[in-house]
Amino acid sequence: MPKITYVAVDGTERTIDVALGTSVMRGAVFNDIDGIVAQCGGHAQCATCHVYVDETNLDQVEPARPDEDDMLGFTACPRRPNSRLSCQLKVTSDMDGLIVHLPERQY
């Protein structure tokens, strides 16, 4: 299973084995990592699963599709070029070693 590292605002890191086919959002929620709210349960409807993909990992994720891109306009913390909705980041074997940074707030 790919290892994904979640970095909290205070710098605390947790690395989790996340099952292929689930999402980076679910990896966090199921493993009891704070900082991802995921109000809509992964439907790209709420923007409360916002993460910043580490600059060194950007080539490991597919670019955002249009509906995710639009929804990124709704994040509580500023949108940056590396902003993503973690529910739309489907876990693939290419993601091993992915690092995502959690924003300060989700709403």
Partner: protein, 485 residues
Amino acid sequence: MTNSTHPASVVVVGSGQGGYQTAASLRENGYRGRVTLISAEDALPYERPPLSKAYLTGRADQAQLWLRPATYYVRQSIDLVGGTVTEIDRAARTVRLADGSSYEYGHLVLATGARPRTLDVPGAGLRGVHTLRTAQDATELRTALATARRAVVVGAGFIGLEFASVARSVAPEPGGSTARGSGRTAVRQAGRSTAREPGHSGCEVTVVEALDRPLARAVSAPTADHFTRLHRAEGTRFLFGQGVAALHGDGRGRVASVELTDGRRLPADLVLVGVGVTPRTELAAAAGLPVRGGITVDSRLLTGDPHISAIGDCAAFPQVRSGNLRRLESVQNAVGHARLVAERITGSTTRAYNELPWFWSDQFSTKLQITGVDDEGHDTEVVLGDENSEAFSVLLFRGADLLAVESVNRPADHLAARQLLARGIKVTPDDAAAPGFTLKGHLTHPAPGRRHHTPGAGRTVIPCRSSNADVTPSPDTSPPSNDPS
């Protein structure tokens, strides 16, 4: 953050979407008192939307529906108590459970949700007749679906139609899929393969609806018509203007047919009753709290008792625009209510609830998204895009004011509409009917006071074809959605 003005303990009745969020938000806001989450369901708090969607199609276990894992509640010191609350003693500020135990509260939050309405006809209790509200219901239903040949859906509301779309899509022996998010794709792909290989579809589906179109209380006519076409194209049969007179068994206690009000009998081995829900107000009523089509609350979501709030599906609250008391049934509403109540309890707000409602429904490969509320009745509809195509939005106006926007496969419209409505940016029917109008464009370049356009130039403008104004607010009959009650 706990200080002397904070209640020493908060008891939440119901650990659905609203109850869970109340507890979670209390802790996020730094509340340090005792938090007790009491649930009649024997499960960790979970989400309901997948129950009529991905969960029905796959083999995902209930753990995949959980809002948070068990460790979360331990870490956050949230006490999960299994049991049914049978009584509120307002004078003593305690709640009593069916097993005789009782809990004291400084503040009580009622998040009791709603229960599905059942049919009041002979045979309603036969095996094979289902409703869909809980994970337990969904698990039973998907087992039934795996072998069902002929399903009859009673009521063309959201639950009925979402179920119909799964029933048409799912192959008799469903492949594994996950519950949330990713599972949606499974539904969609299954839908496609059904369309290509009709012989492979799970079961025959007939939807019986008393009114003349689906989702009649929830959406405008163009949107309803789209869903009629969509489901028909996927092989679902609709019987409109029909009620159910009786259900007949096979002599061994299992349903075998559905008798309609016109006397026809439809063979059926599975019946899903989706005729709306009744808010669970009985506790509040017995405690002498005002109940009118829901537990009545003020704009701060307080009941008549300053120590008791009510939130989510069970709460009738004043709508921001109209002031009308009504319930909404959506994840957004339950979560929004919960957050406000948690903020109020921890003293960080005294504000009135004013979140913009939004809602979604997935049927086959179509995504419907709604924002706003059409509770006063719209008098004008403006359609962006072609209402006979696969993607369009319907803007609902009352006079010059935009009430709600329904988007069919147009997520960008939905999001722009949410921004427009939330920020109070004015859109008139004339604006929307002007050639070249887009919601996104209007967001960046609003055209205030642009009133001289001829409605209809390039857009479909439908004056008062199907105002909802005549829908009497009686939440007890509302389909499961954020539709007018």
